[in-house]
Amino acid sequence: MTTVIIKYNAGNIQSVLFALERIGVTATVTDDPEAIRSADKLIFPGVGEASTAMNYLKERRLDQLIREARQPLLGICLGMQLLCAHSEENDTPCLGIFDVAVKKFVSPDLKIPQMGWNRIHTKENPLFKNVQQDAWCYFVHSYYAELNPATIASTRYATTFSSGIHRDNFYGVQFHPEKSAEAGEQILKNFLAIGATSK
C-alpha cells in the first residue's frame, strides 16, 4: 500500500509523517502528479492561510488532481477547509468537493484561534471505528466548516461546527489526528484501513 502526503506550501507536515511512522506506515511526501494518482491513500494536511494555499495548488494544477482523486483522501485542518466550497479567510474559493462554507470564529469572550484539546461528537463512520464517543482531540484553528449533511463529527467552540466531514472517498478532520494521542492514532489507522471506493 502506498500512502502519499500531498506536498504543498502549507505548514508543518513532518508531524504527520512521524505519526504515520509511529503506526508503522512509511509515507511519501510529494507533489508529483503521477505519484499522487497512483497512491492508494492520500493525505492532504496543512497549516496556513487559505488563499496562499489555493494559489499554490492551482499553479501546480494540484487542485484538479485532488478533485479527481478516486482513492481515500484525508484532509487535515486547513486541508479539510480547502476541500470545502469557500473560505472567509481572504474570501477564497476552495476546491468545492464539499458544498460547505468555512467561516471565522466570532466570540466576544473566547480566544481565537481555538488552540488545545476539545471533544469530537461522532456519528457512526469507518473513520471513527474504535474511537470513544466525545473523544478529546487537538485543535488549532480560527476558521471552521459549518455543520452540513456531510458532517460526521461536531465540536462546540463559540458555535457547533464540523470537526469531521465525509463524502464518497473524501474525508476531512479539523483537528490534528497526528497530535491527538491515542484517539488520533486510531483515526489515522482507521483511515488507512478504508478500502478504495469509486465515485
Binding site: G11, N12, Q14, S15, F18, A19, E21, R22, V47, G48, L110, K111, I112, P113, Q114, M115, G116, W117, N118, R119, W136, Y138, F139, V140, R156, Y157, H176, E178, K179, S180, A181, E182, G184, E185
Partner: protein, 251 residues
Amino acid sequence: MLAKRIIPCLDIKDGRTVKGTNFVQLRDAGDPVELAMRYCTEGADELVFLDITATVDKRKTLSELVRKIATHINIPFTVGGGINTVDDVSVLMEHGADKISVNTSAVKNPQLVSDLARNFGSQCVVVAIDIKLFDGVWKVVTHGGRNATDLIAAEWAKTVADLGAGEILLTSMENDGTKSGFAIDITRQISQALSIPVIASGGAGTMPHFKEVFEAGAADAALAASIFHFGEIEIGALKNYLKETHIPVRL
C-alpha cells in the same frame, strides 16, 4: 468545551534531562524521551523541552533529540532555549517540533517574532516572557531572570501578540521555585487583554494552585517542572482533582 492544558516542562542539557526525577520506574531518569512518554501516559496535554546546552554542538544534539521525541510522542511539544534565527527554527521544525519558544532573542530582536510567524505560522510561535516585580510594576527580565529590562510585562505581551506570537508562556520569577502558587493578577491581566492563549508558569506547589490560576488567573494552560518530576503531584491525580472542581480537562 476547550480543556485547560497541563504542561510538564523538561530541562535538557546535552540531550539529557537535568534536575533529575525520582521516578523509580524509569530505567534512566535522564532520558528525555522516556520521561516524556511517561508524562504522555499520565495524561499531559503538551510538553515543553527547554534546552540549556551551551556547547557548540548544541544544534546537532538538539535536532537529534527533537527527532527522537517526534517519533515517540503523540501529543504536541514545544522546543525552546537559545533560538535566535529563522534557520534555527527550520532545523527544529524539519526534525518534527510542533512549536518553538523564543525568549531573550525576541526581546533583543522583536522582528524575529514576526519573521517566525510569517515563515512557520503563528500556531507554532510561543513567546516566553519572564517577569519580575520592580517597585510594584511587572517588568520583563531576560537571560533566565538575570538581566532586567525596561519593558512593562503587559505591554510586551501585547507587542508580541501583535507581531504574530501564537501563545505566551508567562513565567513569574517572583513565584518560580516558591511553590506558593502562580502570579494570579498579572496572569489574568495579560490573558484577558489578549486573544491568544496564555500558559502560566512559576510557583505551582499544590493542586489548588492550578485551579486558582485557571479560574482567578484566566490562564489557558499551566506549566510546571519539579513538582511533576519529583512526583509531588501526579498529572492524572491533578486532572481528576480539576475535573471534580469543575475545571474542564482532558481525561
